[in-house]
């Protein structure tokens, strides 16, 4: 019996470790390549630094607020600083091993979700503002949401509102919430200096392509790791994600080719991201055969949104976090309630498999609550940060680039 618990822990550890690579090097390269040359370090340090900062918050109070004893809105502080998870007389009990697995795995999920948002205010936010934002975001947004959906809270488990969310690996908690935070931050922080006039092309798409490849691999583990080893859905989750991402990586470039005659590298990388976000809710509920549909629809939805958003000259979500993650997540969440198979999760049959409309009501309710809460809390946090430390760097520093202005170093010194 002990061996089974240990194996379960090792499974979570492995998935957590691979899921961590989605943030760095995954996002660090993906985002790093998309900004201008003068901001590459600021983007990459944000990814690495947030891995540390969010990890710290998660270990100190995040895990406790999410999974320890409490009410349906928020957990208590009985696991503050991971208290009570130490070995007793050199032996880890089975329940402690289960909890430690959760600490490791969901820690990686938290790190990824928070770092995703950085793409929205890239190239202009103060580092102090970022730090303050993330600490508050962890406490007011990530922990409550994951409590609600994954910790038997408001939107998950038997007593959830209208049956709750049908979200396996973070369609609501990670992608929709990051996307909404991104939208709010882009509006409050304002557009970059010279937006829609200056040349703001990505400075190094080769990074972005490598980053997207790492994200692809990491996503299989992030989605599979949500299931325990005794739950065979981990296989479905990995396969489903794989197929959705594959379809995304193919369909985005094809769409571009049909429209402009050129299939781009950034298109393939974007298709990967859209696929990951779209598969996140469905991968434990929908059978693999449907995955291509998710990939194609995510691509079409995100592609159209990116193009539409680009025409709004006052809205500048620098790296399209909203257009990719929130849009693909909602598409995935909506498709899930139609196509969820009772063979995978007996309680959650989609409409197509004879499930009632209750599953749709629960999902829409979850989407609505997440959008409202994240929108409200993000606005509050950004306004507060603005008052306390100020959001943006000075115009002069923005022109100089955050690498030199905020971090005192340059990304490339190639003439040496």
């Amino acid at each position: 019996m002990d061996n089974v618990a240990t194996l379960g822990f090792v499974w979570k550890l492995m998935c957590g470790a691979f899921a961590l690579t989605m943030t760095a090097p995954g996002l660090a390269l993906y985002y790093g390549g998309l900004v201008r040359r003068k901001n590459v370090l600021s983007m990459q340090i944000q990814c690495l630094y947030l891995m540390g900062l969010i990890g710290f918050c998660w270990g100190m109070w995040g895990y406790s607020l999410t999974f320890s004893e409490g009410n349906r809105l928020i957990g208590g502080l009985s696991r503050f600083g991971l208290r009570g998870l130490e070995p007793r007389a050199g032996i880890l009990s089975e329940s402690v091993q289960v909890e430690l697995g959760q600490v490791l795995f969901y820690g990686s999920v938290a790190v990824f979700a928070g770092t995703l948002i950085c793409g929205a205010f890239a190239e202009r936010l103060k580092f102090t503002a970022l730090t303050m934002f993330i600490v508050l975001w962890m406490t007011l947004i990530f922990c409550p949401l994951s409590r609600w959906v994954w910790g038997d809270g408001l939107l998950g488990g038997d007593q959830a509102l209208l049956g709750g969310a049908t979200d396996f690996a973070g369609g609501t908690v990670v992608h929709l919430s990051a996307g909404i935070s991104a939208l709010v931050s882009a509006v409050i922080v304002g557009q970059r200096l010279g937006y829609s006039m200056d040349d703001m092309r990505p400075h190094n798409l080769t990074y972005t392509v490598v980053g997207a490849s790492v994200l692809w691999i990491g996503s299989l583990f992030m989605h599979a790791g949500r299931a325990n080893l005794d739950d065979a859905r981990y296989l479905n989750a990995a396969l489903f994600t794989s197929m959705t991402v594959a379809t995304g990586a193919v369909s985005w470039p094809i769409l571009e080719f049909l429209q402009s005659g050129k299939a781009s590298a950034l298109g393939a990388a974007s298709g990967v991201m859209a696929g990951v976000a779209c598969a996140s809710s469905a991968c434990g509920f929908v059978t693999v055969g449907w995955a291509p549909l998710f990939g194609v629809l995510a691509t079409i939805g995100c592609y159209a949104t990116c193009r539409a958003m680009a025409t709004i000259k006052t809205y500048d979500d620098s790296l399209d976090v909203f257009s990719l993650h929130a849009v693909a997540a909602v598409i995935g969440l909506c498709l899930t309630v139609w196509l969820a198979s009772p063979d995978l999760a007996p309680g959650s049959a989609g409409i197509l498999y004879g499930g009632g409309f209750r599953i749709v009501a629960g999902q829409l309710c979850a989407i609505g609550i997440v959008i409202i809460w994240v929108g409200f809390a993000s606005t509050l946090i950004f306004k507060l940060v603005d008052v306390v430390v100020g959001l943006r760097v000075s115009q002069e520093n923005e022109m100089l680039g955050l690498d030199v202005a905020q971090h005192g170093q340059e990304g490339y010194i190639l003439s040496k």
């Binding site: 040349d199 571009e256 402009s260 050129k262 781009s264 193009r307 539409a308 680009a310 257009s323």
Partner: protein, 112 residues
């Protein structure tokens, strides 16, 4: 003496260089440049945002030669650098007052 500056296509550089060195031109300077003439730039698309790239990358070749060599150099660059398509570039010829070799202090055509 003349200074000949030629804006040419990247992939023609090797051919032009070989033709010149085979005809007793013993030095030249190359610069990566960007600019435009009749050849229009192109547009690039990044997730729905279109960027017009007006300045096209080219190579600038600088050769210094005697007055007598001038016609030969210009002809060689013309012959080897041409594709016949818009965007082949231009050749500029200017008079040069003096050339000095730093190592020896030689001046004029001796320094070429």
């Amino acid at each position: 003496m003349k200074k000949i500056e030629a804006i040419i296509r990247h992939f023609k550089l090797e051919e032009v260089k070989n033709a010149l060195t085979e005809n007793n031109i013993r030095g030249m300077t190359i610069t990566e440049v960007r600019g435009f003439g009749r050849q229009k730039g192109h547009t690039e698309m990044y997730r729905g945002t279109e960027y017009a790239v007006d300045f096209v990358p080219k190579v600038k070749l600088e050769v210094i030669c005697s007055d007598e060599q001038m016609k030969m150099v210009v002809d060689l660059i013309m012959e080897t650098g041409q594709t016949g398509q818009i965007g082949d570039g231009k050749i500029f010829v200017t008079d040069l007052t003096n050339v000095i070799r730093i190592r020896t202090g030689e001046t004029g055509e001796d320094a070429l």
